[in-house]
Symmetry: C2
Subunit: 592 residues, 2 copies
Amino acid sequence: MSFLQRTVTCGFLRPEHSGNEVVLNGWIHRRRDFGSVTFLDIRDRYGITQVIIERDEMPEIGEIAKELRAEFVVAIKGTVRMRENPNMNIPTGLIEVVAQHLHIVNKAEVPIFEISDENLANEELRLKYRYLDLRRPTLQKNFIMRNKLYQLTHRFFAEHDFIEVETPILTKSTPEGARDYLVPSRVHNGLFYALPQSPQLYKQLLMISGFDRYMQIVKCFRDEDLRADRQPEFTQIDVEMSFIEQDTIINLAETFIHTVWKELLEQDIPSEFPRMSFHEAMNRFGSDKPDTRYSLELTSITHVVNNSAFKVFQDACSLQDGAIIALNAKQCAGFSRKQIDELTEHAKKYGAGGLAWIKWSIEGDIQSPIAKFLTEDELQSILSACSAEKGDMILIAAGEWERACIIGGALRTEIAKRTGILDAVIGTFSFLWITEFPLLEFSSEENRYIARHHPFTAPMNEDVHLLDSAPEKARAKAHDLVINGYEVAGGSIRIHQNAVQQRMFDLLGFTLEESESKFGFLLSALQYGAPPHGGIAFGFDRLSMLVAGTENIRDVVAFPKTTSAYALMEQSPSRVAAKQLGELGINVEIKK
Amino acid sequence: MSFLQRTVTCGFLRPEHSGNEVVLNGWIHRRRDFGSVTFLDIRDRYGITQVIIERDEMPEIGEIAKELRAEFVVAIKGTVRMRENPNMNIPTGLIEVVAQHLHIVNKAEVPIFEISDENLANEELRLKYRYLDLRRPTLQKNFIMRNKLYQLTHRFFAEHDFIEVETPILTKSTPEGARDYLVPSRVHNGLFYALPQSPQLYKQLLMISGFDRYMQIVKCFRDEDLRADRQPEFTQIDVEMSFIEQDTIINLAETFIHTVWKELLEQDIPSEFPRMSFHEAMNRFGSDKPDTRYSLELTSITHVVNNSAFKVFQDACSLQDGAIIALNAKQCAGFSRKQIDELTEHAKKYGAGGLAWIKWSIEGDIQSPIAKFLTEDELQSILSACSAEKGDMILIAAGEWERACIIGGALRTEIAKRTGILDAVIGTFSFLWITEFPLLEFSSEENRYIARHHPFTAPMNEDVHLLDSAPEKARAKAHDLVINGYEVAGGSIRIHQNAVQQRMFDLLGFTLEESESKFGFLLSALQYGAPPHGGIAFGFDRLSMLVAGTENIRDVVAFPKTTSAYALMEQSPSRVAAKQLGELGINVEIKK
């Protein structure tokens, strides 16, 4: 089981090594037989080196070479020489190694699928054989890029005086937001730990302990039904700072992102990013994480049609916070009935009852299912408000303001995808801060206020008085960093005063007992000299996706799970022994 | 809720800043009133700065100062000047800040206990109010040291071409060794994830994927009954390399540890550490992780007494692998009956039936409960074999070889503690590799072989043939790094051949179905071109303890749990809502 150990990697050799005797270890990437010579491309993480076997001179090696197939692991001893036909596409392309010894270190079955970025096998198969798929050039490149992001992150925050501290993974269940993953305790039967959705409270306690600047690259967990860009466990760069204002964090995050783009993508992006209030972002883009690489903005036509006799508009305008939102889909008047039906279905997913539209054809005809309910004047006013031109199509959403905006935003994204607007901006980046989020929102389901961000977010100074009079109007000292429509980071200034935190729990409808049993340690800590503090958490996986240029989170997570939180390779979750459950004092109760 | 934000930290100011106007934020560390002036020591992570309040000149500030108590958070604006009475013990001791503005940013209750390294409150109370205890100078220093260790580790392995890759926390339960923490799946009711005891298989798969060199600072989990130096979750520096032999890893680990001691402790330790086989370590020190800062070695007297008529010795010698192990407790002949009883109890904890001893008093008398069973010649031979002198006491353990050694080793440690031998070496370090571990051991409980290290460890080349004839004699390509009696790192060369891995599972008594259901993905991966590989994992917490100079793991873990795996501050584990359990399809079954 010993083997001939390499003296150089497959990415090392250059013309100046000509004449050197070397040993290479690696995988057979390709084998080509030409008459009396065989060429082998030997691959490792560092590159590919061409090996030449002169079969007439080395008949024994020639025999071994016959056995070689793709992905065999080999050790080759030989002499470096200049190539007759250089390959300028690879860094080792000027040389080759003439084999003197060849050993098969480990054989390989024919791979289940071709290890290549072309003709990808279906993703399920590739996830099952993840160790083979990870050999693909694109995935190798992604994880090398992800590694650079780790190194840069460690270095950046260390240089800015941050201390790396690890917080527990076995934490306390305090469900307020997403679902916790639970871990039954064996020592304390009937009690459970929870895996952290974020180290939020721990990092606040570290500030109260005086650590001043904390950072951690940390796994977090949410037991949610997964979307394509979510995993049940995900990684964040968690950051918290004391004695700061919101600008301090925002500036630090900008410097960090600037450094990432500069070092990993060699792009010089702005050192400051525009900021936009939640309200403005919703009005203009129908999203609190708008993709601002393209404009395609929404228009509020509430004031234009607020006297309309059309019942849908009337109903929306009669709401306390109603709005009628239009999107000018430029040059989309040619959309077919089917395409409009698809847009309608899309709008319904976001809560629309239906979709009103007005087509203004190139020829000047106006076609619209709602035309009969509107006066000619109203119709013209809508077109004019939307700066419509011949060939455009106006899409209209009506209802409660935020809902109408969200529907408008969903249509905006869909139109961008369908018209080439999105294709035109691929490879570019747009950075944006969203600020002034509402602190609370009313949940009619739970019949109480819930925190938009989390219950530890501080209200804006000028809105503190609203906590008593109109809590839903209070804005938070919260900030989200949006890149190309992804929420890449989110954070806030936290509440550092016990009384304000109590008031917040109160607003959220917690009884004193609930506050105490869930968050007693935080309330206590806030009584012992808590500094003003705040922070931010960057989604490491999303950041990796952006710098790697992929839209599939599984391209940047080494061993990902499917959208049903299943690991196809290990086949996990799995059944466990009755003895294990017995020790934990739990029973499985399979639903009928 | 705005506050006067600092312009400098409390560790920044020096004489060259005299005359500057600055703002400090921090905690009231101490307040002293002298006639018309009040001195405040303001503390933050970076240091302590003296602030002087001239109450006659600034009566309003004087009024506010009266309210100040320890741990209040304040903002102070003032002018730097040279001190009349410098304090040479702190870096800022040459200057002080004359206060012009003083604001109380947040008040503090009187701390539950004094925040000081003297007169420590009991540990339970300190764990409950961990955020206060973390303000203690020693803990601040420890976590700053731990942070340096993270930074050095990230940098060291990056410089050595390692790639940082994250492996899953939600993994598959494959109990083989310690107990897993389980996580019930909501999407797949009745199935469970397990928290990883180590990322062993994932790192091997990364080698098979061609990543060549992997590292990760990673949380691992073991649901074991805890000892003082264990936590249910612990951190390791996990390392794996391809195309290497055992020496490659050992040398790398030596360079790493050398760098740690040099940079964090400014100590120039040897660049190579001695290596000792498991067998030699057991014979000489009665431990596979001996503290070699002191000698106090064991002596095998099996050959000396193998013809003795003493039944205890006869029984031991008649065992297939029996041994009689003696420890010369130098100058311990004066031990009292009570002390010997305590030693006997200690030996029993490690499996001794009793403890035989021979005292050779300063005066030359021999006293021993077993003297009557031994000939004078045997007695003298024992003393001579142990190089005993007057005043010494010989302690003797007899039985199965490994057990007798372990008892001898336990007595060795205890004697070192009780005689000042250990005190004499505190602050020094001794580094040692243990190698040539047995691959397997026979578990009479399970009536099968179990892996000493783990089932993926490769046998030594020269012992492969023993897998068929005498598996218990086969040695492993395993290596443990021992520092001062702590196992600081452990690793091995792994099996990279499918057939050998199958054979190993077979030896461990797994059926084909069991191998397949537990480790099928590994067996499959080994068929597709696995490179020779191996690695090591360093215990990050233990390494932190050593460099921080503490023997309490809770001094280097920010939010530790008690020995019953309970978090006193958050009060976790805790009860969860019936709705949560319902979604997971589990019931709690409280044991009667």
